[in-house]
Every structure is written in C-alpha cells, then in structure tokens.
C-alpha cells in the first residue's frame, strides 16, 4: 500500500483544465451552471469537441477508442469536466452500451455503432424497465419473436431516459418463453426510428421530461442487431450494470455541486452574515464534503483494483447507494441555501417538452435557477438503476452471505 499522490497528476489536471477552458463554448458553460439536464445539442456538440481530441470515451478499452490513462487520471478528467460545468455526456451511450459492444459486440456492430457514439451522432436509450418489472428485471414481458432473419418486437418499456432524443434503443426482450425467467432473455439493438416504435415523454415532478415510455408494436429488428448469443441477455445486462460501478457514485458531480452549494451559501445572507458562516449550516455542508471524500476514495480503490475481480460487482452497490444519498443531500442543501426561493419552481427554458404557459418564474438568475427542480428530481437517484432496497439485498446476499 502506498497512498502517495503522484505530483504529476497536478500537471495532468492542468492540461485537462486548460483544454476545457479553451474549448468549451461559453453558451454551453452558462447553461451548465443552471442544473437542468444538458441540452441535447450541447451534449452532441461537446462530444464532438472531445472526440476531436480523442477524449470522448476514455473509459473504453483502448482497442475500442479509450485512452491510455491511469485510473487516477480518468477520475481527475471527470472531476474537471464537472467542475467546468461542461455538458453531461450521454452516459447511456458512453458508459452503458459502449462497453457492452466493446466486450460482446461483433466487429461489424463495433464498427457501425461505436464511432457514432463517440462523436455524439447516435444517442441511445436504455430499454430495461417495464411497467411490471422495475427493479425486478427477471419478470419482463416485452417479447421478440424470430421471424425469418428478423426479430419482431412487441411490448412496452418505461423510464427510458432521453428516449425522445435517441437514435437507438438497446433493450432486454424475451426470446424464449419456455426457459427459466432469466434464461430466455436477449439483448437487442433497436433503431428508434423504426416503424412501430412510439415514444412518449413522461412528465416528472420536477416539471421535466427526461423519462419516457417506449412502445413496440411489431417492430422488426434484423438479426444482426442481436448482441452476443440469444438467451444470454441477462449476462450482458449484469455486465453493463456492474461496469458502471464507479460512475454511478457520481463523486465528481457531487463535488461540483458542493462548490456550487458553497457559492450559493456565500451569497445568501442570514442575520447579516453569509449563510455559509452560520455554524449549523456550515457544519451540514462540511459533513457532506467529508462524506464525499470517503466516497471519492472508495471510487479510487475500485478504479485501482483488478477489474476482473468478481467481488467488485457487489461493491458497486455500495458506491451507488451512498452516492445517491449524497447527490440528494447536496441538492437539498442548495435549495435550503436559497431560502424562500428554494421552494419556488423554475422550469427549464430549453426543454422543448415544457408547455409555454408553465414558464412562470421567480426572480432568480445564474446558478440558482435550476436548484429547486434538481432537488426534487434527485429523489429519483435512489430509485433508478436498481432501487436502494435492491442494492441492500445485493449487499446482504453477495457480500454478507445472508
């Protein structure tokens, strides 16, 4: 064990930081301050910029277009992206389907899909959950029947993030009804513009429309869009879920949110002093900061571990659980810092799905704008990607042997 932090990391950080400073369009940065989900065109544009530098997907295997950075460098890269308030990349493409295709895709699939993800051309939606299969994926019902050399897909997916902007959707579908629940599932790549695909944005309680229902009505999917072997979809899904083991902690994102929180609390006045100097509030902020340091080092531990160590899979549950709680707390403290305006609603002016008549905003600007909506939406973090209760089940079973 040696926890010396190589000073060269500071040079790396400076290099990344100046690249971002020089290349991130001011418009994007300003929108990034506001805490709404990044605008679709900003994400695509920023991915293009990063891709030109070769940095769109540093976490991928080098053969697939990753970067030969140390784990610490990859983490610092994420920190700098968040700090700079760059658009948040399309995680479904970069962190979920990308690694799956690298690992299990055919050469043709890799050649066809990966470059377009890296360049922000193809957005992907994740079709896992169904109305009656939330955290319990084994009971999903969407079916794909092989007819000739195409699957015919029928069924419904839900909670598909940003499906309305997606060119492609990857989905778990049932191809074999006679097998055990987890054995008959396959992993398909579905063109979101195919006939029979209907996407319906769902309004969430923050007034946003990132979640979607997706309906499949006799959608034809060519058999070359099957990933790996039929019936093994469950394995690929598990690979995918555990592959995001450190990114779901979102430590760099929370670190950026803490910086914003401290800014807001420095500007807010309580009893004639900055709120950040109020001992009780300051103590809550510091307790959170400290907790994030612990998570940061938990992430570093995993990043430095042998990626094939199976025990790491269940550790992902630990990172996700704690990371979710931290993201919720930081957002709630930011709303609290705003005082009266922490409970005033401000909807995203760039969200095309928000009805015009709903834009009725309190007198806020800059950093404060998206804070209350974000605090509300963050309740979803402990539900999506496997609810906290499911994570506890995994930890109890897989790590504790209970």
């Amino acid at each position: 064990m040696d926890f010396t932090i190589d000073p060269a990391i500071h040079d790396f950080r400076r290099m990344v930081r100046s690249f971002i400073q020089e290349n991130l369009p001011e418009e994007m940065r300003r929108r990034g301050e506001r805490d709404f989900d990044s605008k679709e065109s900003d994400v695509r544009g920023w991915m293009r910029i990063l891709n030109a530098r070769g940095w769109a997907t540093p976490n991928w295997p080098e053969a697939c277009g990753g970067v030969n950075w140390s784990p610490l460098q990859k983490f610092v890269f994420q920190q700098e992206l968040r700090r700079a308030r760059a658009p948040v990349l399309d995680r479904v493409g970069t962190d979920l389907i990308g690694p799956v295709l690298c690992e299990f895709g055919t050469d043709a699939q890799r050649a066809r899909f990966l470059p377009r993800i890296q360049n922000g051309e193809d957005w992907w939606g994740q079709g896992f959950s169904e109305p009656d299969a939330g955290s319990d994926l084994a009971s999903l019902k969407t079916r794909a029947d092989l007819v000739g050399d195409a699957y015919v897909v029928n069924g419904q997916k839900i909670w598909t993030t940003c499906a309305q902007y997606a060119q492609w959707i990857f989905a778990l579908v049932r191809t074999d009804f006679s097998a055990k629940p987890q054995k008959g599932i396959s992993f398909l790549l579905i063109d979101a513009t195919s006939p029979g695909v209907t996407r319906r944005p769902i309004e969430s309680i923050d007034g946003g429309f990132t979640l979607n229902e997706v309906f499949f009505d006799n959608v034809e999917v060519p058999i070359e869009n099957l990933v790996g072997e039929a019936g093994k979809g469950w394995d690929y899904a598990k690979f995918l879920l555990t592959h995001e083991r450190t990114s779901s902690a979102e430590a760099p994102h929370t670190q950026r949110d803490i910086e914003q929180l401290k800014l807001l609390a420095s500007n807010a006045i309580k009893g004639g002093r900055p709120l950040l100097e109020d001992p009780v509030f300051r103590s809550k902020v510091a307790a959170l900061e400290i907790d994030v340091i612990a998570l940061e080092w938990a992430v570093l531990r995993i990043l430095h571990a042998d990626p094939d160590d199976p025990s790491l899979n269940s550790v992902a549950s630990i990172l996700k659980m704690r990371g979710n709680v931290q993201r919720q707390i930081v957002a709630e403290l930011a709303a609290e810092a705003l005082g009266d305006y922490g409970i005033a609603m401000f909807l995203d002016p760039d969200d095309p799905d928000v009805r015009a008549e709903d834009h009725l905003a309190p007198p806020l600007e800059g950093e404060a704008v998206g804070v209350s909506a974000r605090a509300i939406f963050r309740r979803a973090t402990s539900i999506y990607g496997g609810a906290a209760e499911v994570q506890r089940n995994i930890i109890a079973k897989q790590i504790l042997g209970l």
Partner: protein
Amino acid sequence: MDFNHTGEQAALADSVRRFCDDNIDLASHRRDGRSPSDTRLWRQIADLGWLGAGLSEEEGGFGGGPVESAIIAEAFGRSLAVEPYVSSAVLSVRTLLASGGSAASLIESIVSGERTVALACCEPEGRGDPSHVSARAERKGGGYRLSGRKSLVLGGANADFHLVSARTSGDVRDDDGVTLFRIERAHPGLRRQDYRLVDRRMACDLWLDDLEVGADAVVGEPDQASGAIREGVDHGIAAICADSLGAMDRALWITRDYLKTRKQFGQTLSSFQALQHRMADMLVELELSRSMLYAALAALALGADKRSRGVSAAKAVIGKAGIFIGQQAIQLHGGIGMTEEYAVGHYYKRLLANASLFGSIDAHIERYAALSGGEPASVLF
C-alpha cells in the same frame, strides 16, 4: 383538555373532507395551477362559512378557534387544495385581529369571501422570518412613501389587497418601528412578479417602487406591528402544520395501499419486511406529528414567547417528519412516484414547501432554543 372532536368539529371535518373529495382532484389542481383561487370554489367555501370557522363570534367568526382552522387546513392539505385559505383566512385575518383598532372592519369582507388578502411580511434576507424588515416607509405629507421588496407572498398572486410590513423607524431587526400597510392590488408603484411554488400553489414577490399611500392605509398602530405580525404568522404556521399533517397522512396511506397491490419478485411489496419497517417508521413520524400539532394548538393560547416556542417546535417536528414521509412515499413507490400524473410526488412537494415556508426546520429549532433558555422541555409548565 379533550382530544376528541366535539359534534360540531366532527361535522366540520367531515363536510370539508367531503367537499374536497367532490371538488378537488389532481387534474383540477394541475389545470388551475395558474389561478389557484378558482372563484366558484372560493365562493362555495365562503358560503359554507369556513373562512370564519376558525374565529370566535367576537372576532367576527362563527364560534370556533384555531382547532377549527386546523381541521380545515388539514383537509385542504389532504386534498392538495391550492385555495388561499391559510394565507387569507388565517395568516392575514389573525394578523388583522392582533393589530386591533380599525383592522377589524376589514375582516368582515374577508370572512364573507368578498375579498382575499395576502400578508407580505417576508424579505429575501429574512429567510422566512418576518421580524426581518428592511423595506422602508417614510412619512410624506399626510401619508407614507414605501420602498423595498417583499418575498414569497403566499397567495399574493391573486389577492385583492396586501398587508405589507415596512419599517417606519429603527433598524432591520428591531422589534419597534414596523408598521403594517394595506395596499390594493392595483395600487400605483406596486410591482408584482407571480410564480409557482414547487407544489403549484401561487406566490409572488412585491416591489415597492416609491409607492405612496395615505395615513389611512396604516393597519393598527404605527411602529407597533411586529407583535401582531408575529402572532398572525404563528397562527399561520400552526395552520400550515395542519395542512402538512393532512398531506402526510394521505401520502402514507396511499403508499400503504400501493404496497398491498404492487407485486415484485413474485410477492406483493407489502410482504417485504424492510418495507414494512419503513412504513412503521413513517407511521411513528405521523403520530408524533399529530401530537405535536395539538401541542402547538395548545401553545397558541399562551403568552407570546410560549406560543412561539410551541409553534416553532411544531414547525420543526412536522417539517422534518413531512419531508421524511414524502420522500419515503416516493421511494416505496419507485418510478411511478416520480411522475407528475401520480399523486404521491405532489404530496412530497407540498410537504417540502410547507417545511420551508416562514423559516426552515433549522431556523425554527434555533428560534425554539433562543426562546427556551432555562425553561423545561415541556409545554405543560
């Protein structure tokens, strides 16, 4: 001391609840987000006598008191009603009553539903504490010239007139020197920015742009409004607590019912012990909150400091419990709980807003501590 409804109270609770069931649903609440004070509904509410139900006859009401206000507020919270009952009939009316003098004459039109009023007593730097007053009112001729800004005026977007606190003397947090002014909605120099709270109730900020009023705009005694505002706001907070109680009760039972029907992993969710225990924790919070509401209602009858102690205690306990119950109600639902179409997320947002209105949980803990000093930790002494 009697913890059971009287016959009249039971009838009131029952009729408000039935009225809300018949007239208010999630869709109407959404549709009406822009104009919460639906005139027809408000008319009915007034005609049913509820705007005066929380006042004694001497006070211009129908023989009730804070218990009756709490009954109404609880039912409104339970149904997510956005009607400005608390802002007009409790916050403002109680402030007017405590102001004494000519203020009483305004009450009749409010109780009859003819006019609605909003209390503009907060400012951004006060963070919900109405004792922070930096807006200024300077003598000008026989009247006053007002300047400054008021924030988060609950029900202010649709009020016919406002009760605005401004400083006629003293420093920002001085007790003396605050005067209350009655200002009509369309008064020249009154600028308004309407917005929604997270739960779709309407509020506004007001800018007083060198606004001029006559001496007859003063409500109560000049320089002496602090006590009346504090009393009105304490009553308002108690009503907000009751509103939260209705919301958290409903959120809890909706969740209970959901767990009993929804299946995952081949079992109904209600069979999972971890979820059962979570619901048990929610119920503990709910019952303690109800008890705390009663303590606050008892405290309203005590002297100013004891009253504020009891009210702050309730605001803190119920605020915290409400957020916990609201968050867990969403969590136990999973994805559906996050959708605008489903009720439970709206209860969370209502509870979130209520917890913050007129001061955060920590702010009320702090006020409680400042007022309690060496006093025993009991409302009974």
